[in-house]
């Protein structure tokens, strides 16, 4: 019945990476759409990308000021810069996971009408948050320069740390987006977890303040990356390689899990959503 030459598409989906590459223009346009829409009809526009981390920095400064007044040490501009250095990536983590986990449900109109590799939706959400992240980096850099943190060779670690962070967010966001197709509860769980995550992630504080609880805090795979940023940019030390390797391993595991699970669940998206 079927022709003998191999068909282009059988029930088995094509290789996910090749498929994604073939649709890179869509990925670009969806990222562009998410950014454009976010700032359309808003007076502040891109300033919002800076405002979110700014709020976190404000909270961090309050915490540090509290600690400083107890210990009698004055609060320096360097401390503010240190908080900001962690607050900007953290704002990306929070918004990236939040938007990505909602991306499939939010695009259900497209999902049920047009075939696209579905990974595109969470990835585009992360992509648009990444642009916000990049925008916020500009004032962050200015602040770091103002606080005279200095430059050293340790800065070569920064791209790796950021890359690991982005991949972690993408993998987790992809997993959660697939989950929320089947259970809308995921959305609420994510909101709750993201709200409280700042207490168990070293954003407003450093892990070293916690003595023997330090190990527990670093088990959070985002923590070694934020601590690594702090070590390399502010203190000009290399990051703790053991913990960095741990975070990298978690990242790889998350990517494999996300790919496998997404691939298994994808055929049911359109009829379940």
């Amino acid at each position: 019945m079927l022709s003998s030459d191999p068909p282009d598409r059988l029930i088995v989906a094509p290789h996910p990476l090749r498929n994604l590459l073939a649709h890179r223009e869509v990925l670009y346009m969806l990222t562009w759409r998410d950014i454009t829409i976010k700032y359309k009809q808003s007076v502040m526009g891109f300033l919002w990308a800076i405002l979110m981390p700014l709020v976190i920095v404000g909270a961090g400064v309050l915490v540090r000021a509290g600690v400083a007044s107890v210990s009698g040490r004055p609060l320096l501009l360097g401390d503010v810069a240190a908080v900001a250095l962690k607050a900007v990536p953290w704002a990306f983590v929070v918004s990236g996971i939040r938007f990505a986990s909602n991306s499939l449900v939010g695009n259900s109109n497209l999902l049920t009408k047009i075939y696209l590799p579905r990974e595109i939706f969470p990835l585009a959400s992360v992509g648009s948050q990444l642009i916000d992240f990049a925008v916020a980096t500009v004032p962050l850099t200015a602040l770091l320069a103002l606080a005279r943190v200095g430059i050293s060779l340790q800065l070569v670690w920064v791209p790796l740390l950021i890359a690991l962070l982005v991949v972690q967010v993408a993998a987790l966001g992809t997993l959660l987006s697939a989950g929320s197709v089947f259970f809308r509860d995921v959305k609420y769980v994510v909101e709750v977890v993201l709200t409280f995550a700042i207490f168990v992630t070293p954003v407003l504080f450093d892990v070293d303040m916690f003595g023997r609880w330090r190990t527990l805090l670093l088990l959070n795979p985002v923590a070694p990356l934020l601590e690594g940023l702090s070590a390399t940019v502010i203190h000009h030390h290399p990051p703790e390689l053991g913990w960095l390797a741990y975070s990298g391993a978690v990242t790889v595991f998350a990517v494999i899990l996300a790919l496998a699970l997404f691939r298994r669940l994808e055929p049911y998206f359109a009829e379940t959503i």
């Binding site: 029930i11 869509v26 346009m29």
Partner: protein, 413 residues
Amino acid sequence: MSDIVLAMDRVSKKFRKGELHDSLRDLIPAMIGRLTRHRPPEALRDREFWALQDVSFEVHRGEALAIIGRNGAGKSTILKLLAGIMQPTLGRMAVHGRLSALIEVGAGFHPDLTGRENIFLNGTILGMSREEIRRKFDGIVDFSGLEEFIDTPVKRYSSGMFARLGFAVAAHVDPDVLIVDEVLSVGDFVFQRKCLEKMNAVLQSGATIIFVSHDLRAVAELCSRTLLLDRGRIAAAGPSDEIIRQYLGTALRREHLVEGKDAYLSRVCVRNASGEASTFRSGEKAWLDLEVTATTDVTRLAIVVQLCANDEYGVFDTSTERLGLDPFSLHAGETFRCRFELELHLARGTYHVEGYVHRYDIDRQYDHWHQAATILVTTAQDVRGVVNLYPKVTAFGPTGLTSSELTPWREIH
């Protein structure tokens, strides 16, 4: 290289009725059951049903295939499977070449973005590169006829404008296979013609079209071959004219629920001079035979018949009472029969017969049989719209006639 571009081989698709999980109490046993027991996909579980069953067909390069059938027959499911939006439960399918599916016009448009931005967004979603869209941009805008509004957010568009822009983008994808799902129902008449012409042009360029529509005239015009679906199975396949005739025949009469009604239409039958019929020439006589059966004693009833064009727009309406027949009364179990005689001076197209049982003095409706019968009207001339005014046309040449050759206006009055 074979010239088969699309093939389905014994494809079946299973869906579930109702909510996925009604509560946590249902969900947990269901999840455990799924993990521990392996069920063959052929088996139907609780509340599951086959949306498609054992569907096999092939489409050759350059062919236009129509899929027709009642709502819920599985037409859209076939398209969604072909487009890769869903996966079949059983069976194999193959698609060769670039496929563009127009399941819904303007799917993926974002209301906050302008027409221009949406052309780029939707174009890439449909599989064009940005470079390609840039090249075709003027053509797309031209086709949509929305030059003035191209920098207005589409949330301010009317639904017709929205549809026009959506189709304009989709029509410029240049696919090898174009899948079109009932998109002509939107947009005005002129635009519908434009869409059909564009699809014809796509066909001429050697592409393949799969067309789903309730507009049987468009189906007959565009597609040489038609699949008739009935409750998830292929009921018939063959030349469009033949299949359409079969579709309009008795086998596809709509289901009519009569439970709980005091009086209901028990039969609606369309006949011509030689017997039951579904295809008429314009101007031909048609007889509508109707029967009303009562389940309790009912009084002062009238039967209303209505003809509706394919877009549900009523084109003709009459009733036994309005034609001078006295209201009738029935005892439980009794049946009343009547026959309407109509001259079908209609333009070509598909028309549905609607039947009502009504009591005028208290304005109570006992029964409504939606699309009780469907007829296809053919005309010798290409007349469109809903009525046949038997047009004639005379040409007077490039220089025109002298006034003496034309009938003076005064004489007409």
